[in-house]
Structure formats: C-alpha cells, structure tokens
C-alpha cells in the first residue's frame, strides 16, 4: 500500500517536477521575478534609465540587471577554412543573439557565473572577451540540425569572429555556460560597455530588464507599481508567470494528466491486490464468519470489520508513504535534482495533491475491501458453518 501511494504521488510528482524544474530554471536564470522587454513595435526599451531608476527605488526589488541585445553571427575556425573553402560551401557562421550585460548586476539576479562549465565568467573590464552558451557548440549539442547550427572545435581561449551591426571583431572565448534554458544557452555574452559600442547604443536603452524581488514580495504588486509609474508606455512589463512560454504551461498540464493516468494504473493494481487479500482472508474464514453470523452478529458488522481492515492497510500505507515523501524524497530531490536534458527535475508534491491521493486511495480501498467481504458474508450461514 505504501508503494502504491508512493507510485500515486511520485510518478505525477516527477513528471510535473520535470517541467517545474524547467520553469524554475527559466525563472532563476532568465526571466527573474519581473521581466521587462521592449514593446512589440520597438527595437529596445525606451526610457530604460527612468524605469531602472524607479525600480531601484522600490523596496520590494532586490536586484536589477539590464541586457542589451542585437542579432549577429559568430564564426569559428575561419582562418583554416579560407584555404579550403569551395565556392559551393555554405557560410559556416552561426546566427545568434549578442547580449551585453553588466557581469555583477547579471550575477546578482541570475547567478549566471555559477553556470560556467568551462573557463571563467566575464568581469567588468573584460574587452574582446565573450562567454558562449553551450548550445552554440557542437560538443554540447550532439545532433545536427539546420535550425540549430553549431560551432565546431571551439574551446576556452579559442578566437571567434563576431559580426554585429555591420561591425566585425575577433574575440576570445573566456568561458562557456550551460543553464538548460535555451534562451541563455544560445547567446553570446559581452560586457555591456563593449556591446553598446558595437551596436551604437549610447543612450543606455536596453532590450531586457530583469528584476529579482525580495523573498516575500508579490510580483503582481511590483508589476502594478511599474505600470502605474508609466513604464507600460515604453516596455512590456510581465511577471515571470506572464512571460513564461505557453508551451511550458501546456506541457505542465499534459505531464500532470500523464502522471495521473500512469498512477491510476497503480491504483487499479492496488485495488485488485486489496480485493484479493480481503477475499482470500474472508474465504479462509468463511466458517468463522458463518459462526459469528450464527451467534447473531449482523452481516454489516462483519463487513465493517473487513472494511476497517482494508482501511487500516490504506491508512498505514499512506502515513508511511507521506512520511517517506515529505521527510526523505522531497528534501532529497530538492538537494539532488534529477539531471534531465532540459531541466533539473524536482519532486513536486503539494498538500492538496497528497490529500486528494489519500482520499482516492481510501475510497478505492474501501470499495476493494467491501466487495469481497460482502460476497463471502452474504453466503448462507449454515453452509458456511458446515463448510458446504
């Protein structure tokens, strides 16, 4: 029964946790608590300094980072290829987003430096140095796709050629980061001062502003403050939930349904098991059930005794199962997430989810205990006593 309960909770919990891990990753490493981006008809956020200044004045805001974005291309091994390139060969540059950040600000919001898997992260005075997202490199994206072109033979210290806003620069790869968030892992990171120069953005107007809030702050309240302040005229102000990609929300629901469907198979198995246990128990005690009925004990009392027995199994199973989940599994997976390719999967267990599953299991057990008891108890008393 404990295993059945664990199955009921954990299968859906891990499937939802897989997506929850992705959502957490997006929140922690990309969107923050409030994500401010350019209006759909604008190339950047006008009045960025005003918005940032106002956001900084809010006590709910813990940290802010601004990101300057510009599409560009990156090329590797270009010197070697000049000699061998044929007229029919395609250009081997990879299109990507160049992102300028203040390393300290970005780190205070997304802890991006913790995501470095090779080399080092950017420092404030770095120049002609970049950090690459791992999905730009072939060695970290082990499939070939026209939609996701990658660079080969690029290591920390390699020189790569950047082309952005009509400017071409040769820069050194200082580090490689892997966040399991595609938006991050397919970007090239510069120190903002250099990128703003390359893209002629001298007005400090950024493309993304990300706010990290104090632990108990309500993102909706902060969003309202920003909109009331007029930020909405210049930028899209979204909470992390607003900005979350819709497919993630759909996947979360899909996986929850899938988890429940798989768990329900476990529930059916548990019902059958309880049925068999109670039925065998009742059949082997048929004679004693007959005797008890003969003495004058009501059939319903005997049925209730069997229901209590099966409920005892269920209650014991759910109590042990809940203890295992809350005291062992949830803390364990929080500390050691499952390393899925696109997220760090955690075990998502909610109080309402546990209560629902306990109720479902108890009802199923009640039915599974009652039916076999009823079958045996309703047999003729004398036949049961005499073993006929």
């Amino acid at each position: 029964m404990t295993l059945t309960f664990l199955n009921l909770v954990i299968v859906s919990g891990i499937l939802v946790g897989l997506i929850e891990g992705a959502i957490t990753g997006i929140k922690e490493r990309y969107l923050g608590d409030i994500f401010i981006s350019s209006l759909l008809n604008k190339t950047y956020i006008e009045q960025t300094p005003m918005i940032v200044g106002f956001a900084k004045s809010l006590p709910e805001v813990k940290a802010i980072t601004t990101r300057y974005l510009k599409a560009g291309t990156i090329e590797a091994n270009y010197k070697e290829e000049i000699a061998t390139k044929k007229p029919t060969d395609l250009d081997k540059s990879v299109g990507t987003q160049m992102v300028g950040i203040d390393p300290n600000d970005e780190n205070s919001v997304t802890k991006i430096s913790n995501l470095v898997i090779e080399g080092k992260f950017l420092e404030e005075n770095d120049y002609d140095k970049v950090v690459l997202g791992a999905l730009l490199l072939k060695k970290y994206l082990d499939f070939e796709s026209a939609a996701f072109p990658t660079l080969s033979n690029v290591e920390v210290g390699s020189k790569v050629r950047i082309n952005v806003n009509g400017n071409t620069r040769e820069v050194i790869v200082k580090g490689i980061i892997k966040s399991k968030v595609d938006e991050i892992d397919r970007r090239v990171f510069f120190v903002d001062k250099q990128l703003r120069g390359l893209i002629n953005r001298f007005d400090y107007n950024a493309n993304e502003i990300v706010l990290r809030l104090q632990p108990n702050a309500d993102p909706l309240v902060v969003k309202k403050f920003l909109l009331d302040n007029g930020s909405g005229q210049f930028a899209r102000v979204q909470t992390q939930e607003d900005a979350e990609p819709k497919f993630i929300k759909d996947m979360k629901q899909t996986f929850a349904i899938l988890g429940n469907a798989i768990s329900s198979i476990g529930l059916v198995v548990a019902v059958i098991t309880i049925f068999i246990v109670i039925f065998i128990n009742a059949i082997t005690r048929r004679k004693f059930i007959g005797i008890l009925k003969g003495i004058g004990i009501k059939s319903s009392a005997i049925e209730i005794a069997y229901i209590i027995q099966s409920l005892f199994y269920a209650v014991l199973g759910t109590v042990i199962g809940t203890a295992i989940i809350l005291l062992i599994l949830v803390p364990y997976f929080a500390r050691y997430p499952i390393n899925f390719p696109f997220s760090d999967g955690i075990l998502v267990v909610t109080t309402s989810g546990i209560i629902t599953r306990i109720v479902v299991l108890l009802i199923a057990t009640l039915i599974a205990g009652y039916i076999p008891a009823r079958i045996v108890v309703k047999q003729n008393t004398l036949d049961a006593i005499l073993g006929r």
Binding site: K287, G294, I295, G296, A301, L382
Partner: protein, 224 residues
C-alpha cells in the same frame, strides 16, 4: 417454551428431493434438557438448525417463547439469535486469533454491553466452567475439552433462553466428554433450557428427555 408444528425440511439436489423433516411436531418446556438422537441422516442436526433459526424450514412453524419466528425479518432473526439463543458446535467453532476471554466476549460485545460488564460477565462465566485461569489462552493453547468448554461459555455468556448443542462430545475422549456433560448438567440444574443432538445413548440418557428421530418424524419421545 418452544413449540414446533408440522415442520418440513426438504433438500433439493437437481431433480431429486430429500425429505429430511416430514411434518415434525415437538414441544420443549422452559428449563428442559432435551436430547435428540437417531441414526445418521435421520435429520437430528437439521432439526437443531431449524430450532436454532440457523436455517429456514420449507413449511411449518417454530414459536420460541410465544414469538412466531417465521414472521421475523432477517435482521430481527439475527437479533433474536443474539439475544435469546446460544450454540455449541461439534468442532467448538472458536475464533482462532481471539483468546478464550475474547471469544466469550463476542456476543456481549455485539449486544452493546459496557466494557466493564463484558469483563465481569466473561470472566465469571469462564470461571464457572473451570477455565478462570486460562482467560488469555488462545484456542490453540487449550485442549479439546477446554476449547469445548470455552465454546459453552460463549454460548451461555449472554444468558440465552435456549442453548443448542450439536454433538458437543463427538470430538472428545470419554473423560473429557464426561466433563463437558457435567457442565451441561450443571447448567440445566440452574434452569437453562438445553437441546442437544448426540449419537451417544449414554449421554442422551443423562438428559431429562430424549426424542428419537427416524424418517423425518419423532419415532419416540421419552423421559429419562
């Protein structure tokens, strides 16, 4: 007083019918110790089950203390058995997981008696039949005779109007059978109505009255 009138019990098996009780009439007075004897298949156990309301006759009437048992609904019949009748079976029929005390307590518990009263009554009854020192023994820890005495204690713990015993000595050796019969005789002396089926004439002779069944009717009915 038990009054049986024109009792018929027929067992059907496919197309064939076996008439076990064929219009049987019988009266048992309160406080009487009646034994029913007869050869195998004569219907003595069948008669006991009808009298004990464990089975339904095909026709005829059984009145127990002016209660027409035919008219009792299923639940009323169950309640009537619990409050008025006691049973002793040939194979003791004790619940193996329960102690002697707990087995005796079952009917009292189901009657809704107070815990303290159950303890008092069950202990007293077991003491009365000489098992006061074995309250906590499981049936498997008791001899056959002791188990049968626990069975008797269970049957009388709730002061039934009638005690039914179906060959209570059949599984016991002579010495133990004698001790069990002594318990029945002592209960009879205290005014307990007892109806006992036996195939042993010497035990039948110890009862107050013996009826001989043959062919589904009472062939003889004599005072001992």
């Amino acid at each position: 007083m038990i009054r049986v009138k024109d009792l018929v019990k027929i067992y059907k098996s496919g197309d064939s019918e076996l008439v076990v009780l064929n219009g049987l009439n019988l009266e048992v007075k309160n406080g009487e110790f009646l034994s029913i004897i007869g050869r195998s298949g004569s219907g003595k156990s069948t008669l006991l089950y009808q009298l004990g309301l464990l089975d339904h006759p095909n026709s005829g009437h059984i009145d127990i203390d002016e209660v027409d048992t035919d008219k009792l609904a299923k639940d009323e019949r169950t309640r009537f058995r619990l409050n008025n009748l006691g049973y002793v079976f040939q194979d003791y029929a004790l619940v193996p997981e329960l102690t002697a005390f707990e087995n005796v307590a079952i009917p009292l518990l189901m009657q809704g008696k107070e815990k303290s009263e159950i303890k008092k009554v069950a202990t007293e009854v077991l003491d009365r039949i000489g098992l006061g020192g074995k309250l906590d023994n499981l049936p498997s820890q008791l001899s056959g005779g002791e188990q049968q005495r626990v069975s008797i204690a269970r049957a009388i713990s709730h002061n039934p109007k009638v005690l039914f015993a179906d060959e209570p000595t059949a599984n016991l050796d002579n010495e133990t059978s004698d001790s069990v019969m002594k318990v029945f005789l002592a209960l009879h002396k205290q005014g307990q109505t007892i109806i006992m089926v036996t195939h042993e004439p010497e035990y039948a002779a110890m009862t107050e009255r013996t009826v001989l069944l043959d062919g589904g009717i009472i062939k003889s009915d004599k005072k001992n």
